[in-house]
Symmetry: none
């Protein structure tokens, strides 16, 4: 056992991740070849395949390592406000070039079971867990009803974001996010009764 032999090159690892991220973000998963990624990283193809078993795993990693923190959870005054900011952040992320990366990975995951599991375990679930805590806090602070099913609530919130990312007509804009948020509040908030007459 132990660490015998030449260690893996962290520079090569990072260069590959960066090249993959840049190329796939710009042109899409299918349009970018492994040779191209290796060449852009200044790396032999075998090095790439020594670090990742296939293109999908590499791009998945490039998402996690390089931009995993871009969707970090903001700290706001109240939990319900944190929720709103988090949705905004997610929408902005989807609107950004990174959205292409997510689209590519979700698409590829449909025919790659391993990638599907990785995407769920390493991308979706951590973020869902973050949202789960926010929702629990929002309930605790009295902003949301106590009887809501948190996972289903998350599906309602984020499902529509993914839906528009994947199938929408390029309209993941601010007003849409606002609608989602307002209607979510209307459905789950404790103060919705006062909103009944917003459009008299």
């Amino acid at each position: 056992m132990g660490t015998i032999g030449r260690p893996r090159s962290q520079e090569a690892h990072d260069a590959i991740l960066k090249a993959a991220l840049r190329l796939v973000t710009k042109r899409g998963f299918r349009a970018v070849g492994v040779n191209e990624i290796a060449a852009a990283a200044g790396v032999g193809k075998m090095t790439l395949y020594r670090h990742w078993p296939n293109k999908a795993a590499l791009v998945m990693d490039s998402l996690l390592v390089l931009i995993g923190s871009e969707t970090a959870f903001p700290e706001a005054g109240s939990a319900i406000e944190s929720l709103r900011q988090q949705i905004d952040l997610q929408a902005a992320f989807f609107r950004s070039p990174r959205g292409n990366l997510i689209r590519s990975l979700v698409a590829e995951a449909q025919s790659d079971l391993e990638l599907a599991c990785a995407f769920r375990d390493r991308w979706l679930n951590p973020r869902r867990e973050g949202v789960r805590e926010i929702l629990r806090a929002a309930i605790a602070e009295g902003s949301l009803r106590r009887d809501i099913d948190i996972d289903t609530a998350i599906d309602l919130l984020y499902g529509s974001l993914y839906y528009r990312l994947l199938l929408g007509s390029d309209t993941l804009d601010e007003p849409f996010v606002d609608h989602i948020y307002q209607q979510f509040l209307a459905g789950h908030g404790v103060l919705y009764a006062s909103d009944e007459e917003i459009r008299p």
Copy 2:
């Protein structure tokens, strides 16, 4: 001008559609080759490409022609009940083998602009229009609030269905659908005020 020469075979057309539907439904878009579809249909590849411009268009057509009517809109006593039945129907459709077809097409659409347009125009929008009418009727009959934004409402309802189809852990089950429906009602229904448990 006239129709000289051997006429196109309607049987071939149908056989191709059926073979494509069957194979892609069972094994997925990427795992099925065009040769295989043509062979299964007892047809030459050129015949296939004379009827459709590419594999995606063929599979898209197989979805529309052969099972487009499986998600027809049911007639229930009330509009709000029709909505519920429609969601159920859609969920059952996604759970069925046909769900694989939808997943494949959504995935492929991420790297095929033409397919993306076709999927929206010919699959999504007709169904959204049907739901739109149901929602309008539900508003008219007093089941839903009058101030809701219908398109956003649809995104909330169906977005989470697609989200679970594409990324969920095989849990598009009845209770989930029920949750969606109940929470949608809570958010958009006119009767939510009667829920006496909102303040403990």
Copy 3:
């Protein structure tokens, strides 16, 4: 049954053979890649592999088809003269750029059993058979002794040619051929007794 489907393209076939012959002749078997051959022939790589199972088989064929006739057997006045001309012809062939091709194939055959068989069956043996007939005629006409073993005689004649081709110092020249011939005659000819210098 019969000849259904698009027939193999003879033009592609020939273009590949010509490109392979030209490139391998000039630069050697190992130094030329399959991609390069295909590109030089203006052909997809799959076409190449549809016509031949691997690079070795292709180059073997290029030898046989394109230059198989370059070592045709000349007609001379006498059989013994034909033999001399045939050796000259073979040596000239080895000296020419074609010699590289032979060297490449013999080399490759050492680690490719299939190629080795093909080279023997399709290149060596036909030529040996031609020489065999010449030798028989030479015996019949009284130019060679009747007790010689023809196959061994061929090995003596041609073995040294191949030896110099493969391992010699670029000296497959005319005087060498002459030496081979003279010594062969000395060993196998009926007129050797007239050499009065054998005893000083």
Copy 4:
């Protein structure tokens, strides 16, 4: 300058040579990788490349160092008898597993100029020199004609051996060697006149 630092390991050197000889002899040059040789020798690949510049040089060395003496020249009563024994010895060597080694090296030398030179200078020429001396002695003792060209004679003798090694159908047997010898004697011996009537 001094010899500071850890000295090279003679054991590693020998182990590599032995492993290379064994593996290449059994399976052929191309079929054996450098990694495999290093692993079989219980040695790092870098050690191997510190002792030899490339695989070919290593295998060449393994031939010379380990079995260079197997083709040593026997001492017989007469020079002509020594010649006969030497040919026998060479044929037996070619028939043995060592023949594969020679075949591999000759093959590789066709695309490796450096190896070709090394093989000629370090393997062929020393042995040719030995035979040259034997031939000179045979001439001196009156067993061979004095007008023969020694180098061409060697080509005739050994060329056919190499030819059968590389291209023959596994028939480097005793009778063949005998044929070579007899016909060589017939061509170059002083006593051939008495053989004219061997087949009346």
